[in-house]
C-alpha cells in the first residue's frame, strides 16, 4: 500500500477528472485526494480544463470514454477525442488514464489505440489505493511508482491549482 489509511502524503500532483456521472466523479475525487493526497480538478467543460492543461497545471488526466456534457467546437466529443485534444494543448506529454465502463472483450485495445492513452481502467473502479498506485505509476513513468511517489522539488511540472 502506498500510504496508511487516512494519511495524506504531501504530493502536489494535480489530476484532471473528466467524468459525466456525478457520483463516479465524486468517488475519483475522494479516492485521489484521500488515498493519494492529490489535487483534483473535476470538470466536464473543455473551456475550464484547457487553460489548466495549457499552463502545465495538470499532471495527469483521468477520462471517461462516454461523455455527455463535453463539447468542443459546437459538438459533443467523447473521451477518446478529448485525449487527443488535451495532448495537443499540453506543454509536456500528458499522461492519460482512460476509465470506462466499456468492458467487453476487445474494448481495451480499441480504446487505447483510438485515444493514444497510456493506460486503461475498467469500471467498477472501487479500490482507492489501487487507483492511486495506477496514477502514480503513470506519473513517474516507471514500475517503481511506490518508491517514486513524490516528485522531486525540481520537477518542472510541479504546480498546483
Amino acid at each position: 500500500m502506498t500510504s496508511p489509511a487516512g494519511t495524506k502524503p504531501a504530493t502536489p500532483y494535480s489530476i484532471l477528472i473528466v467524468e459525466d456521472h456525478p457520483l463516479v466523479a465524486k468517488f475519483y475525487r475522494m479516492a485521489l485526494e484521500r488515498a493519494g493526497g492529490f489535487n483534483c480538478l473535476v470538470t466536464e467543460s473543455v473551456a475550464e480544463m484547457l487553460p489548466a492543461v495549457e499552463a502545465g497545471r495538470v499532471h495527469l488526466a483521468i477520462l471517461d470514454v462516454s461523455l455527455s456534457g463535453t463539447e468542443w467546437e459546437g459538438r459533443n466529443i467523447d473521451g477518446l477525442e478529448l485525449a487527443h485534444l488535451l495532448r495537443a494543448h499540453s506543454p509536456a506529454k500528458l499522461p492519460i488514464l482512460l476509465a470506462t465502463a466499456h468492458a467487453m472483450s476487445g474494448d481495451r485495445e480499441r480504446l487505447l489505440t483510438a485515444s493514444g492513452a497510456d493506460d486503461y481502467l475498467e469500471k467498477p473502479i472501487y479500490d482507492a489505493r489501487y487507483l492511486v498506485e495506477k496514477v502514480l505509476r503513470l506519473l513517474t513513468g516507471n514500475a517503481s511508482a511506490r518508491q517514486a511517489g513524490n516528485p522531486s522539488p525540481s520537477d518542472p511540472n510541479r504546480a498546483s491549482f
Binding site: D107, K123, Y126
Partner: protein, 440 residues
Amino acid sequence: VETFIEEMKRYLGFTEGDAALLQMLGPRLEKYLPEMAERFYSQIPFHSNAFRVFTGGEAQISRLKQTLQRWAGGLFSGVYDQAYAEERFQIGYRHVRIGLEQKYVISAMGIVRSFFNDCLLQEVPQMEERLPLAGALGKILDIDLNLMCESYMRATVQNLRSLNEQMERANRQLAEAGHSKDQFLAHISHELRTPLNSILGFSKLILDGLCPNPEEERQLLRDVFASAQHLLGLVNDILDIGRIEAGKLSLQSDEVSLRAILDSTLPLVAIQAAERNLSLIDATAGVALPVVRADEVRLRQVLLNLLSNAVKFTNFGSVTVRALPNEEPEGESGAASPPLIRVEVEDTGIGVPPEKRESVFQKFFQADPSYSRRLGGTGLGLAISRSLVELMGGTIGLQDGKDGRGTLVWFTVPLASHKPSQNPIAITQSAQRRTVRAEQ
C-alpha cells in the same frame, strides 16, 4: 428453348421427313397409349423417393396417366415448334418443384422407349418399313429426354441460386442480430458498471477508513443506497426486456378499474412532484372511468413510468393525467377491434424534439443523455412501456404538449366490455380537476 430444340434437331439429324413419318405412325400406336401409361407408373414402387412425391393416391396417379398419354400423343403430332418445346421443358421444372428426382424420369423414359419399340415390332413387321419409323421415334424421344434433362438442370441451378440468396439473407440477418445482441450486452454491461462503481467505491472508502466524518459517511451511504436502487431498477428492466424479447412475458387479461389504477399510482410520484414544486393534476378526478381489459400490475407499471418521466423532465409547471375515449380509428381493422380508452400524461417540461420522438421508444435511447445521467433512468422504460401497451392490445405515442410546450405521452388500452352504442366515458370541460397532494 427454341434454339435448344433447333440444336437438338440438328444434332440428331431430325428432318421434316422424320416429322412426317411420326405423324403417320401416331394413329397406329394410339391404342397402346393406356398400357404405356400403366407400365410407366408401374415403376413407382422401385423408386422409394417417388412415393414421397406421389402422395395423392390413386386419383393422382390416374390423372398423371392421362397427362402421360397426352404427352405421348404429342410425340406424333408432327408439330415440333416453340409451344411443343415449352410444354415439355416445363415438365422438369414441375418435377424439381415437387422434389421428383431426375433418375426416376430417365429410367421411366427408358421404359416408354422399349415399350414403343415392342409396339412397333407388332404393328410394322417389315423391317425395311419399320427401321425409318423406329429411327424417327428414337430421335423425337431423344429430343424430349434432352429437353427434360435440360430443364431439370436449369431448374436445379435456379433453385440453388435462390437457396443461396436465402442463405445469404439469413446470414446477414443473423450477423445483424448478433451485432445488435452484442451491442445490447455491451450496453447492459456499461449501465450496470456505473452504479456498481458508486456502490463498491463509496462503501470501500468507508471500510478503508478514508471517510472519518460521520456526517459525510451518512451522505456516502445515501449515495450507495441511491445507486443500489438504480441498479435494482436496471436489473428489473433488463429482466423485463429479456422476457419481452424472448416472447416469455405473459400478461394477465383481467378486468381492471382504471380509476383504481390512477388512484394507486399517482401517490407514488406525488412526493417527487412536490419536491420539484410541480402540481400533479388528475383531470379525471370525480369522473367515472371505465373498466379496461389489462394486466393490472403491468398497466400500473406503464403509467408509473410515464408519470416518473414527466416529473423527471419537468422543471416548472405541472404534470397532468387524463383519460378520454380514443377517437382515432385503430388502423384498417379498426372495425373488428374493441373500443379503446386513451390515457394521456402531459407535462410542461423540456419536451422531446420531433426527430427523436420515435427513437425514445428504443432500448437505451435517451434523448438527452446528460439529463438522464443526472436524473437516473435506465433508458429502457419507454421501450418496455411500448411492449407492454402493445401486448395489452393498445398503442403508445408521444407528441407536443397541448399548448406546444412540454411533452404529451399517450397510450390506449381496450375496454373490458364493449357496447358500441355506449359512450365509454364523458369527460366534460367542467370536469372536476384535482391536484394530487403528496401524502407526507
